[in-house]
Symmetry: C2
Subunit: 369 residues, 2 copies
Amino acid sequence: MIRTALCEAFGIDYPIFAFTPSEHVAAEVSKAGGLGVLGCVRFNDADELDRTLTWMDENTDGKPYGVDVVMPMKVPTEGTSTDLSAYIPDEHTEWVDKALLSMGVPPLPEGEGREGVLGWLHSTARSHVDIALQHRPVLIANALGTPPKDVIDKAHEHGIKVAALAGAPKHAVSHVSNGVDIIVAQGYEAGGHTGEIASMVLQPDIVDAVGPDVPVLGAGGIGSGRQIAASLALGAQGVWTGSIWLGTSEYRNLNTHAGWESAFTRATSADTRRMRIYTGKPARLLKSKWTDAWEAEGSPVPLPMPLQNLLVSDAHNRINAAGDPDVVAMPVGQIVGRMNEVRPVAEVMADLIAEFEATVKRLDAIAEG
Amino acid sequence: MIRTALCEAFGIDYPIFAFTPSEHVAAEVSKAGGLGVLGCVRFNDADELDRTLTWMDENTDGKPYGVDVVMPMKVPTEGTSTDLSAYIPDEHTEWVDKALLSMGVPPLPEGEGREGVLGWLHSTARSHVDIALQHRPVLIANALGTPPKDVIDKAHEHGIKVAALAGAPKHAVSHVSNGVDIIVAQGYEAGGHTGEIASMVLQPDIVDAVGPDVPVLGAGGIGSGRQIAASLALGAQGVWTGSIWLGTSEYRNLNTHAGWESAFTRATSADTRRMRIYTGKPARLLKSKWTDAWEAEGSPVPLPMPLQNLLVSDAHNRINAAGDPDVVAMPVGQIVGRMNEVRPVAEVMADLIAEFEATVKRLDAIAEG
């Protein structure tokens, strides 16, 4: 058993929160007693998100689920991808194309994959929230800073809790004073956007900074029951996991990259890089020829958010279509070293829980001498 | 109680290993039931180390203690500091002097503090080992790579265990195959030399890589009982601590820096930098005007080990003599955010143990639902 106050608050069996862009993974986590949290950033089309959340409503056996949007506190330059692409220097576009060709990644067939990922835009994230409110999420998480006050208020009116990621205690305190209910303390080892303070230090620092009334989820480096026990030992009331679900059989429905499974099963915990190349802000990615190219001499300086993601989104599509395990553009945490085989979500969940229980028994023996 | 197999192996009550350059801190930790480990790198004079270890023999109530030497696997260029200084470019020396003057750090009085820290030289570290063998340490730790085979053999002949730091699983495996008994898994958040993999991921990875017969000490980010519980949850059999002891009243005997206490009590976990400026290899330091200067435009590229430490050792002496809390050159981990007051070693030890026990009780309640 893993039971904290969050279980009752959300109607879940285990305080294991699973961030994933796959509705199939999210649904399976919720059905297995955790809380699946669907990442919305990939949905450019409002109707597609609406249909996907309807699918979630119908395929989770009535279990709760959450959604994750990306809403920067500072609203970046808005516009359609066509407008914004005017701000991308030609040299950047040319360098990306040349780099891809030198890695053997061909262009896409004419007319495919030219649209950027609009989920990084503030207006798109707002429409994600509006659509989510027409469904039954129990949690709206914001992966980037404090959500705007009116979004928090609207969520609360619908009885929905709001979570926000923090990479430093001062950000956590600011989230709470703006009305955020739950802090995701995301350490340096995490995949995707992440700060400089590592989980062992960050998690108890944030727990102490926000006080006992604000639940904290430990994030960054959580992929086993031992790590859940460590995070709860540090004072978290639950864990926020992401990378490990990229290694599940249900994730295959997204079909992101044919070479992805070979790439992550062979990777060690040393094989990630924290760089600005994915979105313009520091985010941890799997090391590959793609990250190497951006580290090589003569590579351009990444553009600010949201331009960098527009610059590379076509490249991501090309890389995914090529399916070469040596050329991968995938956010993943240092936990990737522990992802050595593809397994069903239910099996991963069962292992997390069993290892947590065994770990607490082991600690008991140490404490009893 | 905190009792693992290491307690019996070393004759200690708690598997809390305390690295410290202060014999006063080391002795107090050992007397409080942990294992004080004296850092030898500061001893240029063999007789001074000999006298200090005699003091340890006589002031630890017969309790065990350890020593820590710095012995790089690849022997760097040898020589006296006078020889080696020929390899230091004048531009570097001039930049350091100019930077210090601009921060208000005056030169030392004529004839003082001109000698570099020779403990970073391989030959000096070997003489440290020879002297230690004439005393009664139970552990020789090497803070930099696998110690040479003959040093390991000599230690074993004297019944002394050998520990080595590792920042990645492959280094830990290599240490063990060379005869090292205990691995110190030192995560990204640690003070001093540290790699890229953070403790939450590194510790279980190393535990799994070396197998159940090799004890692992969790290092990096350990400064509270919650963090000890987290580290043991991850599979470590004990913890290796360093930074927290810089904040003890016994450390004042070293009188390293009059402004140091003001500097660390106000620092948060965000106020460290991992840079090559201390020794030539990446090491985490307290952020200060000194680290800022090395990050500013126009600053030189740090020299390779052991030249960088020779370059800056005079600067360190000047900084320590000046005692300005804004200008500090001190290795410290991200745990510095938790060091908010100066306390006696015995009190810190008692708190670590009590918080560990309370944490295990809290985890029990979570596991029992």
